[in-house]
C-alpha cells in the first residue's frame, strides 16, 4: 500500500527514443508533481498539475509532457531523449503544504 508509486524504477534507453514514466498516488490528493534530480542532487520542479491547471516550469523542454488520465495518475512522456535527460525523476502529490514523494525513476540515456 505504497502512497506514491512510480514505474519503472530504472530505465536505460538510447538517445532519440521516446519513453514514459508512470506515477500513481492512492492518497486522494488533488495536486501532483514531477521533479528532476540531477547528479548534484539538485531538485527542480518540472510540472505541477491538478484537475484544473497545469503549471510548467519555463525551463522544461517541450519534449517533456505530463499526461493525467485521472486524478490518481500523472505520467511523464519524454520525446527524443537526450544525454542530458539522464537523471532521477520523482513524482509527488500534495496535501496542504506537504508533498509526498515516490521512490524515483532512474533514467539513463546512452
Amino acid at each position: 500500500d505504497t502512497a506514491v508509486s512510480q514505474t519503472p524504477k530504472y530505465l536505460v534507453t538510447q538517445m532519440g527514443n521516446d519513453k514514459s514514466i508512470k506515477c500513481e498516488q492512492n492518497l486522494g490528493h488533488d495536486t501532483m508533481y514531477w521533479y528532476k534530480q540531477d547528479s548534484k542532487k539538485f531538485l527542480k520542479i518540472m510540472f505541477s498539475y491538478n484537475n484544473k491547471e497545469l503549471i510548467i516550469n519555463e525551463t522544461v523542454p517541450n519534449r517533456f509532457s505530463p499526461k493525467s488520465p485521472d486524478k490518481a495518475h500523472l505520467n511523464l512522456h519524454i520525446n527524443s531523449l537526450e544525454l542530458g535527460d539522464s537523471a532521477v525523476y520523482f513524482c509527488a502529490s500534495r496535501q496542504g503544504e506537504t508533498q509526498y514523494f515516490g521512490p524515483g525513476t532512474r533514467l539513463l540515456v546512452l
Binding site: K40, L43, I45, Q99
Partner: protein, 112 residues
C-alpha cells in the same frame, strides 16, 4: 520566487545536536517553510513544516525568527541513521502551485 541557500555539507558525531540553517531572504508573506530528508535511492520525506516562531515534532524542531528570512532545522542527538541530505522548501503551493523553491540540499554525515 524565494531563493533558498543552505550549507553544502555538515559533519557531526552520534549523540550531538545538529542545526542546519536555510536562508530565504525574499520569502513571501504567505510562504511556508518545509524541510525534507532524503536517503540514498529514495524520494524526499517530510520532516517538519512551519510558518513562524518554533515548531517541534517527534523528529525535529524548526526555528523561524520574526523576520522569517531564515530557518533552522534542529535534530536532537543524531544517530548514524540520520546521515542523509536535508532540503528546505519555501513556498505557498496552495496559492502558487509549482512556484516553490527547494534549496540545494545539505548533506549531513553522522560519524560514530
Amino acid at each position: 520566487l524565494a531563493k533558498t541557500t543552505q550549507p553544502i555539507s555538515m559533519d557531526s558525531y552520534e549523540g550531538q545536536e545538529v542545526n542546519i540553517t536555510c536562508s530565504h531572504n525574499n520569502i513571501a508573506t504567505n510562504d511556508y517553510i518545509t524541510w525534507y530528508q532524503q536517503f540514498p535511492s529514495q524520494g524526499p520525506r517530510f520532516i517538519i513544516q512551519g510558518y513562524k516562531t518554533k515548531v517541534t515534532n517527534e523528529v525535529a524542531s524548526l526555528f523561524i525568527p520574526a523576520d522569517r528570512k531564515s530557518s533552522t532545522l534542529s535534530l536532537p542527538r543524531v544517530s548514524l541513521s540520520d546521515t542523509a541530505v536535508y532540503y528546505c522548501l519555501v513556498g505557498d503551493e496552495g496559492t502558487n502551485a509549482g512556484k516553490s523553491t527547494f534549496g540545494d540540499g545539505t548533506t549531513l554525515t553522522v560519524k560514530p
